[in-house]
Every structure is written in C-alpha cells, then in structure tokens.
Subunit: 325 residues, 2 copies
C-alpha cells in the first residue's frame, strides 16, 4: 500500500508523470519537488518555468499544443511590448504574466518561493503539494564552445542550438534543499521516491546537487525509482538526447542508470529498449520494462500506476533486505 510519495520533476516530460501520479494518489499522499535551476529574471519578473509547467498541468490549464503556458492564452501584452522593441523571445501570455507578477511581488515582500508556490497552487485549485527544490537561488549555466550562457537563453532564445560542453549550477554550493522535502525523505510514512522522466542533466541533477540532498536520498528507507527519459535512442520531448550526444554519452537507458548509479533502487524503461534488458540486469537495480510514452491521460495514469506498484514491490524487498542486514 502506498502512503506518501515524493516525485522529483523538471518541466514538460516530468509533469506528464506528475499528472498521472496526481490521478492515482490523494493530495496528502503526493509531493512534487521541482527543479528551479532554470528559473530566471526576465523583464524584472521572477519566472519559474518548471514550477509553472507542473502547476498548470495539475490545474488542467496547461497548453498541450505549445507544451508550455496556459491553454487559450492571449498575447496582448507581448504584442504591445514588441512595439517598444522590448524582449519578446520568451513568450509571456497575458494570464501567465499574472503568475510571474504575483510571484515577483510576493518575493519582494519577503515571502519564500515555497510559500508563494503554495498560494499560486491554492489559487489554481491544485491541492497536491508542489515544492521548489530550494528557496535559494540556483541558476543553470550552459557551457558552449563560444562561452557560457544562461539556461533560458540556451533553451528558449537559442532553441537548444548551441553545442553543450558542460553545465554549471551557480549558487549550488550555498543553496539549501527545500526543508519540507528533506523532512519527507525522513518521514517513516514515505513509501517511495520517483524520479520523473525529466532531463537528468538540467532538471534532476540540480536537485540532486543541492547540499545534503543526495545523502538524504540515499539514507531514505523508501526506494528510489527512476523512469527513463530516453526511449529508442531519443527523448520524447526536449534536448536530452541532443545533450547526451554532445556530452559523448550514449543515448541509452543504461547511460541513464549509470548516471543515477548509487541513488536509485529501481528503473523503468520502455519496451522499445528491450535490447538493453541484459546489460541493465547487471547494473544492480530492479527493472521494469513497460510503455513509458505518455500521449494520453490514460498513458500517464498507467505509467504512474506501474511506477507505484513497482515502487511498492521494491519497498517490500528493501524492507526484507533491511531486516536481513
């Protein structure tokens, strides 16, 4: 039986599984810890793209066609901004702007990103707890052959065109992990941790790199299950596979397990990657091969159910292991 679950999540890809989990669990059972290393300041606004994507997705107002922003959005402000020669490469919709304005003004008044995210979720009717990975500032910089650029400049402005050499999380040395997430990792009611199929390098790594977070994850009694973001040598969404190639990492599920080695107890990968079953079976993680491509809501719920069941199976095994230790 599932009690409490912590999901680690980035933007679109992760949000899909988060939505599935949200359908399978009650609000008090699920906590979603979201990457904030691709937050940025734009036009004086504090923008948290991954939090917003997860929040809008759970609220059922996400723009499915665009993959970001709000369904049925209007663009009057941006059109007017264009007239002034203002920066319009980051597409801010009129309704979406309210999120950023509210967040920015609340931050200026001294509220924490955690509390503000809570207020935003409350306004949108999202009862599940969505937590920023940290209330402190961490910013992903992308090293490219022509120099380092801020993540959103790489991701949105340059449309992931530059070759990636490395990543650098500015502020990671001093940023504290969200204390509510740390507390949950120690909570005896925690049944498991799910690493959503988000980009390991820019969405999950910043969370794992927070001071003490990986240690807390390793010490947690609950099992950690990762879902592969790589299917058939490609990523469903976003630049994960392109980044892997540029970093000379094979675009395979085994590379993902290697990346998370020592942290995860279970790994879910796609049927399309059945040829990796044998090499994966040597990697000391429990395996689950299933359909991981989430096109419909049903896909999302099915994968969430699979992950939860798998997590539970490992949990039983882990508690036996613990007893035998």
């Amino acid at each position: 039986m599932v009690d409490k679950v912590l999901a680690l999540c980035g933007g679109v890809g992760g949000a899909k599984l988060a939505l599935g989990l949200n359908h399978c669990l009650s609000p008090d059972q699920l906590t979603i810890l979201v990457n904030t290393a691709d937050d940025f300041e734009h036009l004086g606004l504090h923008i948290s793209p991954d939090i917003d994507t997860v929040m809008y997705t759970l609220a059922g107002i996400n723009n499915g066609a665009l993959g970001w922003g709000i369904e049925g959005e209007t663009w009057h402000c941006l059109a007017a901004l264009e007239v002034f020669g203002g920066e319009t490469w980051f597409r801010l919709g009129d309704r979406d702007l309210a999120t950023h304005l509210f967040r920015t003004s609340q931050l200026k008044q001294g509220a924490s990103l955690t509390d503000i995210t809570g207020l935003l979720c409350q306004g949108l009717g999202v009862e599940t707890q969505i937590l920023p990975m940290s209330d402190d500032c961490v910013r992903t910089m992308v090293a490219t052959p022509t120099g380092e650029i801020a993540f959103q400049h790489y991701f949105v402005k340059a449309q992931c065109q530059p070759t990636v050499c490395d990543f650098h999380f500015v502020g990671i040395e001093t940023a504290r992990p969200n204390p509510l997430a740390l507390a949950l990792l120690n909570d005896p009611q925690l049944t498991g941790i799910i690493i959503c199929p988000s980009n390991p390098y820019v969405s999950i790594d910043p969370i794992l790199a927070l001071d003490g977070f990986s240690d807390a994850l390793k010490q947690a009694k609950a099992p950690v299950v990762a879902v592969s973001p790589i299917v058939g040598g490609a990523a469903i969404k976003g630049p994960t596979a392109k980044m892997m190639r540029e970093l000379s990492i094979p675009t395979t599920p085994t590379a993902i397990v290697e990346h998370y080695q020592g942290l995860i107890d279970g790994f879910i990968f796609d049927n399309a990657d059945h040829q990796y079953k044998v090499p994966l079976s040597d990697m000391h993680v429990a395996l689950n091969m299933t359909n991981t491509v989430m096109k419909t809501l049903e896909d999302k719920i099915l994968l969430a159910e699979t992950a939860l069941t798998f997590m539970n199976e490992i949990s039983g095994q882990k508690s036996i292991d613990h007893k035998n230790m």
Copy 2:
C-alpha cells in the same frame, strides 16, 4: 509667431490641452514636462500614470471613457491575478502592462526615465517630446486626519475619499529638474510656457518644487500662462475642487492665480467665471476669458490656439517691458 513651447502637465485634465497643443504645433516646437510625483511601484512595476496618460493621449490610443489606460484594453492578466488574491485595485490592462514592464526592465538596466519615455513615445509614434519632470524619485504623500498615505492609495485605492490636510513630496529636496526642461527655459527660441489645467497641488506643484525650477521659470524671458483647472467652482475632472475645500481654499480662479502668484504672466479662465473678472484684474496678470471646457478635439485645439495667441500677445508686451527696463 510661436517658436518653442514648454507645457507643464499632470494627468487627464492637462493631457487634453497637451493634445490640443500637439495639434497646433509641430513636434519640434512642443515639449511637455510631466509630473512624476504620483509615480509608484506596484507589483514590482514602475508605473508613471501621468506620463502614460499624456503619452497614450498624444498617441491617440487613450481610453476616453475610462479617462486612463488604453482604448479597447483587455484585462486577462488582472483577472488571473485576482485568482491568486493579488492586488487588483490599480487596474492594469494587458497592453498597458507592456509599458510598465518595458519601463521597469529598462530602469533596472540603468536607463533614465527620460530616455525610456523617449523609447516608449517612439514605439507609439509620438514625436513630441514628453519629459518626466525629473529622473529622480519624488513621491507625493497625502496627509489625512488618520495619517499619511501614498498618492495612488489616496487617488485610486481610496478613490479620493480621505480628507486632505496637506501634501508632502518625498525626495523633492534632492531631485533634480529634468535638465532638458531647464535648458529649454534658457533657450532664446522659447516663446512661452503653458501651465495646463492640471491639479495645482499634486500635478503642478511637484514640478515647481523641484530644486531651481521655479527660479528658472521666473528667469525665463518667455511668458508663463496658466489655464484655470477650476470652472464654475468645480474641477472638470479629478479631486482639485474637493482638495481646495478641504484645504480651506476658495474654489475660484482667483485662488488659482494666488497660488501661482509671482510665477505666471497670464491667466486663462472660463466664461462661467466672468464674475471674477474684476478681482482678477487687480492681480497683476494678463487675463483671457474663454471657454476652457474641453469636450471635443475641436475644444482642445481651440483652447490651445487661444493659449498660444494669448502667450504671444504677452510675449510682445513682455519684450517691450524688457526693453523699457
């Protein structure tokens, strides 16, 4: 013949005459110096209500029905902000927001309010120079029986309900007048200065109170003509008459001339106030009685023409006086 004109202006009332002047003069002939003491920070945005009103009016996109903001405005952002319990008492339209976002981000990048206003005007196709009274921060505080409140809180949030005891311009001691306006006051090509029918206490006084501005105005060779904001004991728009009553100032054109005494050479007042012709004639200013109520564009142009002709007449007289001195 009119060469260059400087108009001092607040929000709506003043903007009407500014529009009239804009029709009568070419862009290189007219400079509008606008009050910025009711600027404020709201939701992290720098808002300059009077500049925006003048700018939108000259661009022909002002919302005539509301008296502020942009014609055909939408309110999607504000509606979304309301869902979060954000502050919505200051009505920010979607297009209007672009102005504030652009201004705020440019200020953060170190641009001056003067330069930013220039860029905004350029975007809106306004060729006439609209200048903030200062690039430094001045903020009007309204003293009321229950304490001091910021101007926009008095004006918009409290809808001018509180009784006014006094005004206080925070920052006025150190704020420098716009150097372009000071230069124009010394420009031999300056034909005259027109004080628009704006609120003398909160729109014009902050400009006059800027260090050195009144002296520069007095020393200018060009005549200063004020247009009465009081017609038949009332103000056409805004709380001018209510303020005057609360400050125990008679709501008469003579009170306006007394207020500007020593600064103005000419005074234009409304036909409705013909009974003040005799007391006004003792006040050592040239007088012009005409229709000052500007309902139509024609009214605005007619009053502007009257003001310019009157200014020219005084100018001729003033230059004769100068020669005779």
